[in-house]
Symmetry: C2
Subunit: 244 residues, 2 copies
């Protein structure tokens, strides 16, 4: 039995998210189809972060186990066979019991915001266009309040599949990527569904003066979903990396 670890980049625009769904184009579906062609057998993938429709990834990690002969040049072959909006950055042998989901110690997400008056042909579908007021000091203060362990009930849909709502945030801060783009980088042990998008939507309310930083911070004590802000759109979000 041999185990492989894949590192994957994708532009989420054309995918209905990571997970296979009948009749839908998904990242898992495309990758497993290419793998089946190369390996001659169906190989189910385990993934570190299941991303939603429209969410991108720079450093998604997936693993699979096979009894077949370990294929050579697997990344090259997957890229030759797979679609252009998906790239396998690495495909490496891993310890036999490696599991991309269970063994992940933390995930890092990035949310990109384009601050300028005019829309951008190049950032379309890749950053949230925000032509409104944005107080960087306020959103940075919100991000600083995230450090440590909190109850993120306010930051996941009211109907959800989670059993515990505490998450451990290791790092959170806004970075000025360029004149026009600012991005939130956030690392945590794990994330709940929509967590980064609701955090960003709520921070943007603080950044435009509709909510105070103290009100934002108070949400981290297990408040209900309706106390937080809107869910920011999927297309600004990137799964940046996974640590093991």
């Amino acid at each position: 039995l041999s185990t492989f670890r894949l590192e994957i980049e994708y532009d989420g625009t054309g995918f209905r998210g990571w997970a296979t769904q009948p009749g839908m184009r998904t990242v898992q579906g495309e990758l497993e189809a290419a793998l089946a062609t190369i390996m001659g057998e169906r190989v189910p993938l385990t993934v570190a972060g299941r991303t939603d429709a429209g969410v991108h990834a720079w450093g998604q990690v997936a693993s699979f186990r096979t009894e077949a002969e370990p294929p050579r040049g697997l990344a090259l072959r997957l890229n030759a066979l797979g679609p252009d909006d998906l790239a396998v950055l690495r495909a490496d042998p891993a310890p036999e019991d490696f599991d991309a989901r269970r063994d992940a110690r933390s995930r890092t997400y990035c949310y990109r915001v384009l601050r300028r008056r005019s829309p951008s042909p190049f950032e379309q579908g890749r950053a949230l266009w925000w032509p409104h007021r944005l107080d960087l000091a306020a959103i940075e203060a919100c991000a600083a309040s995230l450090h440590g362990t909190h109850d993120f009930t306010a930051f996941t849909p009211a109907r959800n599949e989670h059993v515990r709502f505490r998450r451990d945030v290791l790092r959170a801060g806004w970075v000025e990527e360029s004149d026009a783009v600012v991005s939130l980088w956030i690392e945590a042990d794990a994330f709940m569904h929509n967590m980064v998008r609701i955090l960003v939507g709520t921070m943007l309310e603080a950044g435009s003066g509709r909510r105070s930083v103290a009100e934002f911070a108070a949400l981290l004590e297990g408040r209900p979903r309706e106390d937080a802000g809107e869910t920011a759109p999927a297309h600004g979000l990137y799964l940046a990396s996974v640590a093991y």
Copy 2:
């Protein structure tokens, strides 16, 4: 009579270049159609740099003259009316005799090269994918040899419409934009057709050891087109800015 100056950004992927061509989708065609709707009359645009099919722009400049009332919020209205792969960054009143082409003192182009083994979903159509050897010192030495006035006959198609072949290069150098992307920035009084793309194609030959820097520099003395290298693809090229 009033004159306007537009600053324009576009993703060239979906356009058959700048200039209007019957039956083709072009940047000029889309912009003039939107302008006609807003102004109620046909308004021909003059442009600083006519770009080819697939070439992008971050800072294209165009001008037009009108006898109509100067419209308010012109940039906003053009962006609302125009397609998503084209944005008007500014639309400002200009001196009555301003002409975007004639008055341009220099143009700056950027050519982006992605150096990594795997292709990139995000740089697809936006940078040349170069998974081969690339000696940065060699291509930087080529760029340094461009400074000053040279005869660029080798760097334009043998059949061309140009009458003089000397151009004055004010700045040329490669920049490491990120771990994976290097880009050539080049500013000159004016450029000949395909000039940057043939320069890059020839530099890449020097960068992969198929041509020496001295051989590259010797081409700047008016050698024929066949002595230079291949024309690099359009999709790595950006008209970055125009100086007046």
